[in-house]
Amino acid sequence: MLFVSIKKQLTHFKLDVEFTLKDEIAVLFGKSGSGKTTILNCIAGLMKPEQGKIYLNKKVLFDNKNNVPIQHREIGYLFQDYALFPHMTVWKNIKYGMSNEEFAKHLMNELKIAQLKDAYPHEISGGEKQRVALARALATEPKLLLLDEPFSALDDSTRAISHDQLLRLHELWKIPVILVTHSREEAEKLGDRILEIVQGEFKKESFH
């Protein structure tokens, strides 16, 4: 269970959101620059809210007294452009934050990237990069998964496959997932809940 309450002044508006999330996929849907990625960054610990509370499974990640460092938040984060380590092979990328090699192999098989083990990020396709980044985000067995427009750079058929893969993985993992997108179609296909954000505030919430 994730509880988020964030207040933060951004350049053009004030971000002011509050939501609770069970082991479901919540989609943050809205235009570019509406504050979606800022919410993810605050939850991950990359940015600090001015006010608010963030709890993950009753553990305080942020409040007016605590600000748990990124390293100890147990959150998997898949960045928009994947942010793979360019000088490391796929295997080293995935294994970077973990000690359990068997689990890394299992993840690679699950995401069908085992054959890319020795390839470098510049040698693989966009869809493969996305799967490597997903495997890497899951490798540390996070309690929450943040996905920042992970499908935006993919072609239609690869995107459809990736959508199905995410839904299947979520069935297996059962952790809260927050997905950021500006595609309504994607939001409706993947989200158990859709939180529509406009200028830093939730304007509409729908359930699927």
């Binding site: 610990g45 990124i70 959150i75 942010a83 360019p86 470098y120 510049h122």
Partner: protein, 229 residues
């Protein structure tokens, strides 16, 4: 020509190597911290770091003389507390080399740390890595081509330093006579054969360093930049 004293070669190498090691460590450390942080006075601090690049070496030498001279702020402390006299010593040669070559390393390191997306480091943090681990396993290897370019330029600049060295260290055979100083004083004393010899040595070293850097760039930098796509 048969009885050339080779001490300028040894002294220049020793000085440039020590200066390069110090400049590399300090330059990389400062560039790393300053490139990712904003604070009041950052522009002024960076301007001070880069000042030796635009000032005439004699002005740099004058400034160093002012600081490290017998009545200078640091010069007095070093003399009173440690009985170390900097002016006209080998330490002066190293200090001059450090100060004039530092901006090159700092600029190269700063560019190297800025050329990749900070999200790459953020990703490592979310995977539980400490700052130290992220620096050694992510930031440093990715920035390495740029750092290496800075390293080579720093060494070449330290090797060729003349003006500030002459101001602060003077010309004392076997103590402060680096190759550039040896060339100047050989010409001044009319010993053109000696001057030609040292010119040939320093041109070969400089040319070799640039040639090697270009070769290394072609071989590795392209691979690295592709990897950053």
């Amino acid at each position: 020509m048969t009885d050339i004293n080779m001490s300028p070669l040894w002294l220049s190498f020793k000085t440039a190597t020590i200066a390069t090691i110090i400049v590399f460590i300090v330059g990389v450390f400062l560039a790393r911290i300053i490139s990712r942080h904003s604070f009041p006075g950052k522009s002024i601090l960076e301007a001070i770091f880069l000042l030796p690049l635009v000032l005439p070496p004699t002005v740099v030498g004058f400034g160093l003389l002012y600081i490290f001279g017998k009545n200078g702020f640091l010069g007095r402390i070093l003399l009173d507390w440690f009985d170390v006299q900097v002016v006209f010593s080998w330490y002066a040669v190293i200090i001059a080399a450090i100060v004039v070559s530092f901006p090159l390393m700092y600029q190269s390191a700063q560019a190297a740390f800025k050329q990749y997306d900070p999200k790459i480091e953020h990703a490592a943090y979310t995977m539980g890595a400490s700052r130290w681990k992220v620096f050694w396993t992510i930031s440093f290897p990715i920035a390495w081509p740029g750092l290496l370019a800075g390293l080579v330029l720093t060494f070449a600049r330290a090797l060729g330093e003349f003006g500030a060295t002459l101001m602060l260290a003077g010309y004392i055979p076997n103590v402060t006579d680096t190759i550039p100083l040896a060339i100047y004083f050989a010409v001044e004393s009319g010993n053109m054969e000696m001057a030609k010899f040292w010119v040939a040595i320093i041109v070969t070293l400089g040319f070799g360093a640039i040639l090697w850097l270009n070769w290394w760039n072609k071989r590795n930098m392209i691979r690295y930049s592709k990897k950053s796509d």
